[in-house]
């Protein structure tokens, strides 16, 4: 109690001690002659005591000054770190980098490992990242949940869950808790107030940056949704048009057959029935394409990938081509060596059939179509080449886009077919391109990765 009182008024007491010591020693000199030697000694001792106290006081003042300087230095260091972090946060290219930067700066300030957690939206949380990386933390639990929920500091050294190993700090932006950072201090250390303050101000910066990223992401999402909506309505327009054409044919043929008074000849009736069959077959292929669109067009394509021998895939395509277009000549060229490629076989066959379908319909030639497979180092390349009229400039530009502008097009279904091919090949991590062969005709090329582990 007394020491604290002295410590509080260091300068005043230094002055009091020093001057009273000075006065007493001066008095001693003055009274030297008129007083007994016993008194003189007592006075001397008194002044010595007072001088000693004033020196002690001076030492305390000096220590304070040094401490202050150290605190100042630490504060400057902290300020520097914080401004460094703010600066690098501004340049962070993604949320992931932002997390790493934050954890790294915490490590450099308080010298303890930490990890970042976010709420998983269903009452739990997931660990996003730790620094140093791969760090194994104690099984953390309620303290993190509590921190995420309440937005307060929890765990070691706080009021709630103080028996836990982690100290959790909320990362907030505008009172919203975005994440929690768990610090794992050594077993005996509890962070000093100034260090806690540093961590908190670091996290404040991180929170602001995180919120900025989140808003940007939200904005982008909204834009994508708008785009998607646009594509969807475009797509529906294309399909309704494409579906209506064969349906008109089927309904027309049926009504002709139903009317007894039309006097159709047997062969005319047979023709009508086979027309209905052909249109229905076309509709079926269309529906299969649509089903595939829903499989590969989703955010996570549902692929049934397995290694398939190229020769079996090509044999399937050849057989399908022979049944669908008996008069078309398809020549197959493939490497001699046995070759397997990971793929969703049904979808790849569908892509190849769509391309052959296009060649048959649009090439305007009855010369053979060539389907060749080439084994490149990391990929396998399929190419389908016809000897027809080739692709027009306009078509080349929008080849793989689902187009709704083709209403009135006599041969339906191309827009969907090619855009589907593109989606399927992209879902396989492959590439597809279409161009005019210098020797004439259109050529479509597909590559599929060989070692893909989709």
């Amino acid at each position: 109690m007394k020491t604290r009182f002295f410590a509080k008024n260091k300068r005043t007491f230094f002055l009091i001690f020093f001057f009273s010591g000075f006065i007493i020693s001066a008095l001693t000199v003055r009274l030297m002659g008129s007083m007994g030697s016993g008194h003189i000694i007592i006075l001397r001792l008194c002044s010595l005591c007072l001088f000693f106290l004033s020196v002690r006081q001076a030492y305390l003042i000096y220590k304070d000054l040094v401490d202050e300087r150290n605190v100042n230095r630490e504060e400057i260091h902290r300020e520097k770190l914080i401004s460094q972090l703010s600066e690098s946060l501004l340049q962070a290219s993604g949320i992931d980098e932002l997390y790493t930067l934050t954890l790294k700066s915490i490590y450099s300030v308080v010298d303890c490992p930490s990890a970042i957690f976010v709420s998983d939206g269903s009452g739990g949380f997931t660990r996003i990242k730790s620094y140093p990386e791969g760090l194994l933390l104690y099984p953390p639990d309620e303290e993190i949940l509590h921190c995420l929920k309440e937005g307060i500091r929890t765990g070691r050294g706080t009021a709630s869950f103080k028996e836990k190993a982690l100290t959790c700090y909320p990362v907030k932006a505008e009172e919203k808790v975005l994440a929690a950072v768990g610090l794992l201090a050594g077993p005996d250390t509890i962070l000093s107030a100034s260090r806690q303050k540093t961590v908190e101000s670091l996290l404040l910066r991180a929170g602001v940056a995180l919120e900025r990223f989140r808003l940007a992401e939200e904005q982008q999402q909204a834009m994508m949704e708008k785009e998607l909506e646009h594509m969807r309505s475009d797509f529906l327009r294309t399909i309704s048009h494409d579906l209506r054409t064969p349906l008109t044919g089927i309904i027309g043929a049926c009504s002709a057959l139903e009317q007894g008074d039309l006097n159709l000849t047997e062969s005319a009736k047979k023709d009508l029935v086979s027309d209905i069959g052909a249109e229905a077959q076309w509709l079926l292929r269309m529906v299969e394409n649509l089903l595939s669109v829903t499989r590969v067009g989703a955010e996570k394509p549902i692929l049934n990938i397995s290694e398939q021998p190229i020769e079996e895939v090509l044999a399937e395509v050849l057989e399908k081509t022979r049944t669908r277009f008996p008069s078309v000549q398809l020549r197959i060229h493939q490497p001699d060596d046995f070759l397997m490629v990971p793929m969703d076989a049904t979808l790849i066959v569908q892509v190849l059939m769509n391309l052959i379908d296009n060649s048959v319909k649009y090439a305007g030639s009855d010369k053979p179509i060539d389907l060749s497979v080439k084994d490149n180092a990391d990929t396998v390349q399929f190419s389908i080449k016809d000897q027809g009229i080739g692709l027009s400039e306009k078509k080349l530009r929008t080849l793989f886009e689902p187009s709704a502008q083709r209403s009135g097009d006599s041969s339906h279904g191309m827009g969907l077919g090619l855009s589907l091919c593109k989606s399927i090949i992209t879902a396989h991590d492959g590439t597809i391109s279409g161009e005019n062969n210098p020797e004439g005709g259109a050529e479509f090329t597909i590559t599929l990765p060989k070692g893909s582990d989709l």
Partner: protein, 231 residues
């Protein structure tokens, strides 16, 4: 046609398709029983003992595969599974659970009738009792372990012969990759990695088919398995 009509249980929830199938199968001389749900089908199977079941996998009250699984615990009645196209996984699962064949929707009338006849025929003859199997110019003599095409013996390795024999013992039936691998390389073989089977099949075809791009004897069901051609 049939003196004693064979009965077929059609399990299908779509009224319209049920009607078409009923008409088609009745016209071909079968006695047709219909069920629109798995629960109805179960009681009909025990009360009527159909000769063949046509099972649509998409049922309202139960997964068709599950129904097949339950059925196979006590009955060997032939089952043809009807499934939507593009669903190889369903096909493989159905075959592995003991379906005799599958047919994809939509199918044509002759195709369906041919499948039904083939399954009926396979079930009436005792598998494995015959000594030879012939289709076209292809002949396999199970006793002498010899495969020949156009009367010319073909040199097959041990494994290749065993694959051909396995497939030829059940002509017309699709054998899934995992079924073949389990039977040739044993239950501990990695059935997921069927490369070894595919390579062997490629070699077999080079030896027995005149054009391996258009096989005539061992047919590919892409993504599912292999099937021996029937006469």
């Amino acid at each position: 046609m049939n003196n004693i009509k064979d009965s077929i249980l059609v399990i299908e929830d779509e009224n319209y398709i049920l009607k078409v199938l009923d008409t088609l199968l009745s016209a071909d001389g079968y006695r047709v029983i219909c069920a629109q749900s798995a629960s109805a089908a179960k009681s009909i199977i025990t009360s009527h003992m159909p000769d063949l079941i046509l099972l649509d996998l998409g049922l309202p009250d139960m997964d068709g595969i599950q129904l097949l699984k339950d059925l196979r615990k006590w009955s060997k009645v032939p089952v043809i599974v009807v499934s939507a196209r593009q669903m190889e996984k369903d096909k493989v699962a159905a075959l592995d659970e003991g379906a005799d064949d599958y047919i994809s929707k939509p199918f044509s009338a002759p195709e369906l009738l041919a499948r039904i006849r083939a399954v009926m025929r396979r079930n009436s003859i005792n598998n494995g009792s015959s000594e030879k199997y012939q289709v076209g110019d292809f002949l396999i003599d199970f006793d002498r372990h010899v495969v020949s095409v156009k009367g010319v013996p073909i040199k097959l390795t041990q494994v290749e012969y065993r694959i051909v024999e396995l497939i030829a013992r059940q002509p017309g039936k699709v054998l899934t990759y995992s079924y073949i691998i389990n039977n040739i390389w044993g239950p501990y073989a990695d059935a997921e990695n069927n490369r070894i089977l595919r390579v062997n099949m490629s070699n077999i075809r080079k030896k027995i088919e005149s054009d391996s791009m258009a096989p005539k004897y061992i047919l590919t069901e892409i993504g599912v398995g292999y099937r021996m051609a029937e006469q």
